[in-house]
Structures are given as structure tokens and as C-alpha cells.
């Protein structure tokens, strides 16, 4: 298996692929740095354009954007206290105080080095852990795949957010959208109302652009005030080779946060923001000087930024090997892989080792590139770009959305559909319905149904076919553990709290 890893390396070093990676990282940093634009949105806008590209060029762009955006979010988080991406929220805790003290440049350098470290650790984990996982390939027939999908659907409970009812409504909505189109077995129409355009189901990108990109655009236009003036006028940047030795004392935090980020990444349904929060808390807990945290402790920036980048490649481990996207970005990347005929799942490593392992290398190189590209971008010049007039920014994004969705199938029908989802997404966003369950529901709902019904046909209508072998039973047990485990844990924590109070 690992020989494929080495064999795929020469392909990755082709100039077009490296160029794609560089462009991706740069674009990712810019996108991440713009409040309201996330990696999710950038990649969902990008995916349809990659139709005509070589797979590795397309995937290099995506890997670059993902890595770049996870760091880019730190720039406005540090300079303006506006997290550029959701995962950068924890970066504001110490990054912004540092900027106020005139150490913004140092904060950004810590962020970029930590991000790169997290990204590299994650990429290496992906390279080493994914191949063994892919060996279980052929154990997964329809019954087993059904249980995998159910397992993934159950991870929705981690995505529900504060309000369980709303989270479940989001999930049901997502699953319902997934059944539009032709029935997986009989091929008859379901809810297509005679529209041939709906027969293949609703493309994930249409839904994603509608839900994730339109609401922020409307927000941009709703309050067109210029972003408030920053303390970033005085960054106090020193050359990175002089500041780097000072950072080496974070090594424990780097390793700990990287492990947390990778672990969260492998768990389906979690995500960069959860990784960043957890690792920030853990780092503070083990610090000798917890009182400096929140007042400009560079180690806090390091913890948060390492973890949110360590989440990136690791989230692809379940996505590539089992077809279960760990995060929304991983979900879109699966779409990107599908476009190039790369069916995610156990067979992927067998059928397309060059591309899959090349993709992994790109994650590693993307993380390394981050230091060079991010390091030079994180200067005063970037603060100016953030002052781009918001109405202008908004209208440019609108155009990109239209191009992106139109390019999927080359038809305006999809654009109107996207606008419809945008309206729904806006209402959901404003009423605080969580969006990730919709995405996960759309991806896994129809998938679960199709495999359930295939399994039932294989079992000739007998539902016991779902429990007939060890793999299925293990998956059932895992699912139960995922659902029940957190409940038990919450009980225990509540109990402890009650005891300590009493």
C-alpha cells in the first residue's frame, strides 16, 4: 500500500499541480480572511469549475484552499476581532489582545507557523492511517454500507447546535431533499413534477451555495458599513526567522493540539471550530500561567490555529475510505472527487491510487507552502484589503455564485433552484437553524435509503439481512455507542457538577 504513496509523488510535483496548490493556498488565505466567506463556500464555488481540469490540479486547488482558509480566518480574527471563518473564533481570544498591544504581526506569525504544523501533522496522519482503513474494502456490501450511512446520520446529533428541535428539522429537511429525483431501485420519479432537471436529484453544490453563500452575501449588503478601523496600523512585524525561535517553546501545545485536531477530524460531524475550542481549553488547562490567557498569550493563538488546521486532512480519512464526510468541506470535496469519477469508499484506493495519494501529498505540501505564502501575506498590506467596500464585495460574490452553479450542468434551472435554497437558507440562518445537518442529511439520506433497499432485495425482503454478519453488527454497536456515549457522559458531568456544588 505504502509503495503507492511513493509512486504518486512524481505526479504531484508536476508544475501544473504545484501551481494549482500555490494558487489554492493564496486564494484560501484571501477567502478565509474575508469575513463571511468560508472555506466551505470557496470550495463549493470552485467545484463546478474543476470539471474540465485534470483531477490533481482540481484537487490541489481544493487542498490549497482548505489549508489556506483555515489560516486566513486568523487574519481578521487577530486584526479586527472578526473571525474570518467559524473555526477562527478561538483565535480572537488572545490574538486580538496581542494586536492591541502592538504585537499583531507576531500573533499572525504564530498563527501561520501553528497552522502549518497542524496541517502537516494532519496530512501525515491521513497518509498513514487511511491506507490500512481502505483494506476493509470488500467487506462492505449494501447492508454494511447502510449501517455506515446510519452511523454517519447519527453523528448529526453533534451538529444539532443549541436547539434540538431546530437541528432535527434541518436534518429532516436535508434527508427529504435527498429523495427528490428518481427512485434508486425502480427509477420512477419522486417529487420531480415532470422536470427532467430534477430526475438526477438535487446536486449538493446547488444546495451548498444556496445555504452557505447567499445568507452571508445578503448580510454584507444589509449592513454596508465599512469594517471598523483596526489596530493593525501598527503590526510591529519582525522577520520570521527572528521570531521563530521564540515559538519553539509551544512545542507541547503544538503536538497536543494537533492530536486533538486529528481526532476531531476523524469523528464524523465535528469540525474545525470544535477542534479549536477544545484544544484552546486543553492548552489553557495545562498552562502554568493560566491568568495570562485571554490577555494576549501567544500560546492561545498557537493552540487554536494548530487544531483548526489539524482538522483538515484528518476529516478526509472517513470521507475517502468510507465515503462519510467528517465536515461540510470534506463533503464538498467528496463532490469534487465524484466529478472526476472518483467514487469515495473503500474501492477508491484500489482503483485510483495515483490520484488519492497525490491528493494526500498535496495536503502536506499545502501546509508547508502556508508558511511561505502566509508569512509574506501577513503584513500591513493585507489589512488594507479588508477595507474593500462591502457592497462591491457582495456583488462580486453574487456573480461568482451564479457562474459556479450554472457551470455544474450548464443550465439556468439550477441557478433558480439555488436561489430558492438561498431564501430557505437565509431564513434558517436568521432563525438559528443549524446548517450542517441539512448537508449531512442530503448526502447520507438517499445513500442510506438506496443501500437499505438494495440489501432488502438481496435478502429477498427479509429485514434480518441487515444483521447477518460481523461487520454489520460491529457497525450497529458503534452507532449505538456514538448515540448513547455522549448522553452518558453528559449525565456524569452533570452529576459531578451537582456534587461539587452540593
Amino acid at each position: 500500500m505504502y509503495s503507492d504513496l511513493i509512486q504518486s509523488l512524481p505526479n504531484v510535483i508536476a508544475w501544473a499541480n504545484i501551481a494549482a496548490l500555490v494558487i489554492g493556498v493564496l486564494a484560501g488565505i484571501v477567502v478565509g480572511a474575508m469575513p463571511g466567506l468560508s472555506a466551505t463556500m470557496a470550495i463549493s464555488v470552485l467545484v463546478p469549475f474543476t470539471f474540465g481540469l485534470e483531477p490533481l490540479v482540481a484537487l490541489g486547488l481544493m487542498a490549497g484552499i482548505y489549508n489556506g482558509a483555515m489560516y486566513g480566518g486568523a487574519i481578521p480574527a487577530v486584526l479586527l476581532r472578526i473571525p474570518g471563518t467559524p473555526a477562527a473564533v478561538a483565535t480572537t481570544f488572545d490574538g486580538y489582545p496581542m494586536a492591541q498591544q502592538g504585537k499583531g504581526g507576531y500573533a499572525l506569525q504564530v498563527a501561520v507557523v501553528s497552522s502549518a504544523f497542524g496541517g502537516m501533522a494532519s496530512a501525515i496522519a491521513l497518509m498513514l492511517l487511511a491506507p490500512p482503513l481502505s483494506r476493509v474494502t470488500l467487506l462492505f456490501g449494501p447492508a454494511e454500507v447502510f449501517w455506515v450511512a446510519v452511523f454517519g446520520l447519527c453523528s448529526i446529533i453533534f451538529l444539532l447546535g443549541g436547539n434540538v428541535t431546530k437541528g432535527l428539522i434541518s436534518a429532516c429537511f436535508g434527508v427529504f431533499v435527498s429523495v427528490v429525483g428518481s427512485d434508486p431501485i425502480f427509477g420512477n420519479d419522486r417529487y420531480t413534477f415532470g422536470q427532467l432537471e430534477l430526475l438526477d436529484g438535487i446536486h449538493i453544490v446547488i444546495l451548498l451555495v444556496g445555504l452557505y453563500a447567499l445568507p452571508p452575501v445578503i448580510d454584507l449588503l444589509e449592513s454596508p458599513l465599512k469594517t471598523e478601523n483596526s489596530a493593525g496600523d501598527r503590526l510591529g512585524t519582525e522577520p520570521i526567522w527572528r521570531t521563530f525561535p521564540q515559538m519553539l517553546r509551544f512545542w507541547k501545545t503544538w503536538i497536543r493540539s494537533a492530536l486533538i485536531g486529528i481526532w476531531i477530524g476523524i469523528l464524523p460531524g465535528a469540525g474545525g471550530s470544535m477542534a479549536a475550542f477544545m484544544s484552546y481549553n486543553e492548552a489553557r488547562r495545562s498552562s502554568k500561567t493560566p491568568e495570562t490567557w485571554g490577555n494576549g498569550e501567544p500560546e492561545g493563538v498557537a493552540a487554536s490555529e494548530t487544531a483548526n488546521n489539524a482538522d483538515t486532512a484528518a476529516a478526509l480519512i472517513p470521507a475517502l475510505t468510507l465515503g462519510i464526510p467528517g465536515t461540510a468541506v470534506a463533503a464538498i470535496m467528496l463532490g469534487g472527487l465524484l466529478i472526476h469519477g472518483l467514487q469515495p469508499g473503500p474501492m477508491l484506493f484500489r482503483n485510483n491510487p495515483d490520484i488519492v495519494f497525490g491528493f494526500m501529498w498535496q495536503f502536506l505540501f499545502g501546509a508547508i507552502l502556508l508558511v511561505f505564502l502566509g508569512g509574506s501575506l501577513a503584513t500591513n498590506s493585507f489589512a488594507k484589503l479588508l477595507k474593500l467596500p462591502r457592497p462591491l464585495l457582495g456583488s462580486v460574490i453574487i456573480i461568482l455564485m451564479l457562474i459556479g452553479v450554472y457551470s455544474i450542468h450548464g443550465r439556468m434551472f439550477d441557478v433558480y433552484l439555488m436561489l430558492g435554497f438561498g431564501a430557505i437558507g437565509y431564513v434558517m440562518d436568521k432563525l438559528r437553524f443549524p446548517l450542517p445537518p441539512v448537508v449531512l442529511g442530503l448526502i447520507l439520506g438517499g445513500f442510506a435509503e438506496e443501500n437499505l433497499r438494495l440489501a432488502l432485495r438481496i435478502g429477498r425482503g427479509n429485514w434480518m439481512v441487515l444483521f447477518q454478519n460481523v461487520t454489520s453488527l460491529i457497525l450497529v454497536a458503534l452507532t449505538v455507542a456514538v448515540v448513547v456515549g455522549p448522553m452518558v457522559k453528559h449525565r456524569l458531568i452533570d452529576k459531578k457538577k451537582a456534587e461539587s456544588k452540593g
Binding site: F176, I185, P391, M412
Partner: protein
């Protein structure tokens, strides 16, 4: 606060819950035509939506009864509806008169309406964006964009 609800049934959450129920119920009608296994999942989801929306409605009404004020959903509804309307208008224009013309018109228009008034800035931005799109998508990716239904025939 112009969009503060005057009536407890006009709270944004209640209205949304009500709409979810109505739409989900409407989708149940075509569901009856499907074969049993084919209808299983969609029917379960629709019924789930109806039940959950009912819970949401009741929760929100309880809050209303308890005198809790609903949060303002949008800061300025005019701008929101305006923005959404303009986006739809832009899509229709692309369909009817073609991508490049509509984009050249709508980019400065939207930016102008929403508060960016510098004519030089608008002209430069429009030129850069159009050129970039043409070069990146039109030339290097050989993407075709709608040419406009009005001009076809």
C-alpha cells in the same frame, strides 16, 4: 423597531413553523402515489417535519405567552428584500439578455445601490471582474455562459 411583531402569531418562529407544516403536508399528497418502499423515507421525513414544526410552534407560543419578546430577525428588511430581489433580477437578466451584458450592468448597479458610490471605483471594479471572468472561465476553462434567450432566434 419596525418589524417587532404586534401579534403573538406573527412571531417569526411561529410563522416559519406554520409554513413548514403547510409545505410538508402539501408534499405528502404526491407521496401517496408511490410504491410502499419508495414512499417510506420521504413520508417519514415529512411526518417528522410536521411533528417537529408543531413542537417548535408550541414552544414559541409558550414563550410568547410568558411575555418573552421575539428577537429581531433582520436589521433592515428593506435592504434584505432589496438585495434578494436584485439577485433574482440579475439571474433572470442573465437568462434573458446574456451573461456578460447582465454582469456588466448589475455589478455596478448593486454596488451603487448598496452604498458604494465612487464612479471611478465602480468602473475599474467592473472592468477587472469582467476581464478576470472572461480570461479565467471563458478562455482558460472554455466555459460557455448563457447568451440570452431574447437574442436566440
Amino acid at each position: 423597531m419596525h418589524n417587532k411583531p404586534t401579534h403573538r402569531f406573527l412571531r417569526a418562529e411561529s410563522i416559519t413553523a406554520f409554513y413548514i407544516i403547510v409545505v410538508a403536508a402539501a408534499f405528502l399528497i404526491p407521496t401517496t402515489d408511490l410504491a410502499p418502499l419508495s414512499a417510506l423515507l420521504p413520508a417519514a421525513m415529512l411526518v417528522g417535519l410536521i411533528l417537529l414544526a408543531l413542537v417548535m410552534l408550541i414552544t414559541d407560543q409558550r414563550k410568547a405567552a410568558a411575555g418573552e419578546e421575539a428577537e429581531a430577525v433582520v436589521k433592515s428588511p428593506k435592504r434584505v428584500f432589496g438585495a434578494f430581489g436584485l439577485i433574482i433580477l440579475y439571474a433572470i437578466c442573465v437568462d434573458l439578455i446574456g451573461f456578460y451584458i447582465s454582469t456588466a450592468l448589475s455589478l455596478p448597479l448593486v454596488a451603487f445601490i448598496f452604498g458604494y458610490r465612487s464612479p471611478v471605483g465602480l468602473a475599474i471594479a467592473t472592468a477587472i471582474v469582467l476581464l478576470a471572468i472572461y480570461l479565467i472561465f471563458g478562455v482558460s476553462m472554455s466555459q460557455e455562459f448563457p447568451t440570452g434567450l431574447l437574442w436566440a432566434k
